[in-house]
Symmetry: C2
Subunit: 239 residues, 2 copies
């Protein structure tokens, strides 16, 4: 008898479910930087007891999405311009390396995954449109998946994990500081064009051009966000 059943979805624990939801809410900015994560709040928000909640917090603390302060509970990690610059700088280097390695090591299946991810991305409403939260979340997911697909041929789980974590933190900065246009900071068509070009040069194995493109793709958003820090700082101070 053939044994090619679907890979059974491991029954997930409640702690992991809360972790996923909370990570999503921190990424989106729904849980604001500095916000105290009280047990009551979390219990009602995620409909769960304190044990799963605290496990989720512990994991998020290890990933620096939240901070744990002695016996005074947890807070959403603060954001700062210094942290942002660090993230951008190290992400630039790791992503460039991962792109190179992907181009070297990627196989047909990798190419197919890029094409598929690009297709899914184009099927969402383009950035700039007003999206409801669910649509926005879905678009973010597809955007993430596309960019990770580009890197996924690199055959280094560690490198991939680091890129994923850095990207997640930067997504938070983008969505908090540039909340208008969900994904990026330019014209929707232009951005789709950039994604298409990225796909093309990756599959053509043109590493130099890929790094050029990703650099430009990132830089626009980078500058916009940088420019909004002042406004953000005063809006926070006003509270």
């Amino acid at each position: 008898m053939s044994d090619d059943r679907l890979p059974e979805p491991r029954p997930t624990t409640q702690a992991v479910a809360v972790y996923d939801l909370m990570r999503r809410d921190i990424r989106s900015g729904a849980l604001a930087p500095g916000m105290a994560l009280r047990t009551e709040l979390l219990k009602t928000r995620y409909g769960s007891g304190v044990s799963p909640t605290r496990e989720a917090l512990a994991r998020l603390a290890a990933e620096h999405f939240v901070t744990a302060e002695g016996k005074k509970g947890f807070r959403v990690a603060l954001i700062s311009i210094e942290d942002f610059k660090e993230l951008v700088s190290i992400r630039r280097e790791l992503e460039a390396r991962a792109l190179q390695l992907s181009i070297t090591n990627g196989n047909d299946d990798w190419e197919a995954q890029i094409v598929a991810a690009f297709h899914r991305l184009t099927k969402t409403s383009p950035p700039g449109h007003i999206l409801n939260p669910v649509e926005e979340e879905e678009r973010e997911r597809r955007h993430r998946d596309f960019h990770m697909a580009l890197l996924s041929g690199c055959k280094s789980r560690w490198l991939l994990r680091f890129c994923e974590q850095l990207t997640a933190h930067l997504e938070r900065y983008r969505r908090i500081l540039n909340p208008q246009s969900a994904i990026s900071t330019g014209d929707g068509e232009e951005i789709e064009g950039e994604h298409r070009s990225l796909m093309t040069v990756m599959i053509n194995r043109d590493a130099d051009e890929a790094i050029n493109l990703i650099e430009r793709h990132r830089n626009r958003t980078y500058n916009v966000i940088l420019g909004r820090f002042d406004a953000y700082a005063s809006s926070v101070a006003a509270e």
Copy 2:
């Protein structure tokens, strides 16, 4: 009144204490790869209830020191030659970058920290000696601190965190696969000389030479460990 009291040691939670102990035991190999981390075992070993224990496990899972499998509990993360090579490869790049940045950004205080860390390291018994577990642990700590001090001038917390995590995982490989000589794989005096040279070139701000030295320093251990994987694989299979 002057207010330069000692920075108050935040009262730490039991969960964090268990986390520290467990991380130490995984690093040292006391908790072997693949070992099931049953609640009873952990409760007695670390003298704590299940809640702090599970929080510690959640954090360690986020750092990939343990794996969580659905509702079947936690295990110490497995080791593999592929994972080892990945770790070495990415660590090489990140450490080189951090050394460069340290040389660019490091100030007098950074230099002083290196000198201090080197001094502390020389005051432990050299590698090769038979040490009891407490002494071994102390030597490992000082060795870590020295190498991290070299990088600590880089002014990028993210880069530093990644280096720390990679080093921790590699320490585990070294101590499991090369348990005889605690720190490294060569003559004690030779290794102390290497550390001294590293210190010197860093303070002299010779980035190229620093990267050369660290490369050689790492490579010796790397090759020894690589050579012991076969023996390890069969010793595990024999169980």
